[in-house]
Amino acid sequence: MAAFSSRSCLQYLLHLAQDNLDFRLPSPFWCLDGLSEEDVRSIMARSVCAKSAFELWGHGQTHSELRTSLLNFPSDIMSPFMHKDSTYRINVYTFNKTLLFTDRIKRIDALEYLPFEGTVSLKNPQHIFCLLEDYGTDPNNIPEHPIYIYFGRWIADGQRDLIRSHSVKNRHFIGNTSMDAGLSFIMANHARVKQDDLVFDPFVGTGSLLVACSHFGAYVCGTDIDYNTIHGKGRSSRKNQKWRGPDENIRANLRQYGTQKMYVDVMVSDASKPVWRDAALFDAIITDPPYGIREATRRTGSHKDIAKPAEGVFEESHVPVSQAYHLSDIFTDLLNFSAHHLVMGGRLVYWLPVYRPEYCEEMVPLHPCLQLISNCEQTLSSHTSRRLITMEKIKEPEEFDCLAHLSDPRFSAYQGHNAFREKYFCGLNKKSTKENNKSDVSGD
């Protein structure tokens, strides 16, 4: 019998979750070609957006088409999973429609033309199959019949359980702007974080991004200008708690998830004045820079204005006089830093806050040494959003690359970005801009 090449004509079906819709095409069903089962398993071992993956055996717009498609599927691919000593189970999944139990049974019975020879086992079957029906994406207009139907052999589930297990709700140490678990893992995936990488976050805050990266086997380090956050001191961000406890710091967060051994260091440092020697040190730089709304944008510098004192007075936490760190400078510095300190092929992943009415693609900062890989919008409100930007280092920096943006015609479009903070607040009722709220942790 000829060995079957699994990389040839098999299609796989990914069933995607209904969240972060901005990051993908509208349909939750996605067929993939040209992959092997091993590839699909690797994807599912990392994805927090995909619920399940199936080896696609048949599909069609009607059950009749599905049947034709299934009868045409090579029986030698089916037979290893159908033989009489095996156990199996068929699931029925309907997207955008609730099905009565009796209707589910009817659909399973209707598949009797398939050559199942094994025994049904609901509890612990060796093989699981799934009939998936797509009833469209409009919850207010659900058709009587599905618009598309798929049938396949279940391969693997995605890592969506990480969203629950790593929820910020249950994390020891959080801040007002801790990144939710799902997005942290998405960012780690965008950066292609892998085992034995060294990852750096220059605006580390409470370390949410480092937690996600450590889960994928990377060693992690970070810096933040805020002494209290790095040391785990000061006011708590939890509703019923006034001050942070002794075990609240980034290291404790990693310990909570069993990845403490991936902790390298955190430091109090100003990201605009990097402290690293000029070498390609990091495999990835993943960060959520301040937008100037819920946490201040700051940098050290001589300035006549005195900054407001930090909340919670701790003697050692002397913060040198802060000056406003203009948003556009943050990103120019970040891209330049990445060009110098990423390994070749390493990635920078960060959030860019955007005032939607004035957004244009020219506002996305560029750098001659970095290639823009993706730009995914997450809407925050009617007039604001943030974009997850992924860039990859493609070239070593030369002397004047850090100034390239000044001669770039798009530079003036980007300068307008500095007004993001003002524009954000103009859209709201007049409120105190001083950060005085304790966030009611809504987690993920």
Binding site: S269, L281, V319
Partner: protein
């Protein structure tokens, strides 16, 4: 602060050109057990300034038998990798400071965390 981090840090005091490596003045050093991962150590070695690592380990009194020169074919040399692992990841400065070799400016280390912030008049 671990010596892996120290190896990558440099002084950013204004006007300083020979700010690497920072001198370490430690008043409390701890040695923790960290799971040995030969692949990670092998990947880090090419990024290190070997002389600075040895010197730092010496400053802390934890050099032990770490060789002064990088060993050839270190990827397969588990004994060597274990020595490097100990020095990179297991030795931690808990209290003390880092000192710029040119200007003498000190950056305090407290609870294992260096504070690299410069003052208003230094930037």
């Amino acid at each position: 602060m671990k010596l892996l981090t120290h190896n990558m840090l440099t002084s950013h005091v204004k006007g300083v050109t020979k700010g690497y490596p920072l001198l370490i003045k430690a008043t409390e050093v701890k040695v923790n057990e960290v799971e040995f991962n030969p692949q990670f150590v092998s990947r880090m070695i090419p990024k290190l300034e070997w002389g600075a690592l040895v010197h730092a380990a010496e400053e802390l009194g934890h050099r032990q038998d770490l060789p002064g020169e990088l060993v050839q074919d270190f990827e397969k040399n588990e004994d060597f990798l274990k020595k490097v692992h100990r020095v990179l990841l297991e030795v931690e400065v808990i209290e003390g400071c880092l000192q710029c070799p040119e200007s003498g400016r000190e950056f305090p280390i407290s609870k294992g965390i260096p504070n690299m912030l410069l003052n208003e008049d230094e930037v």
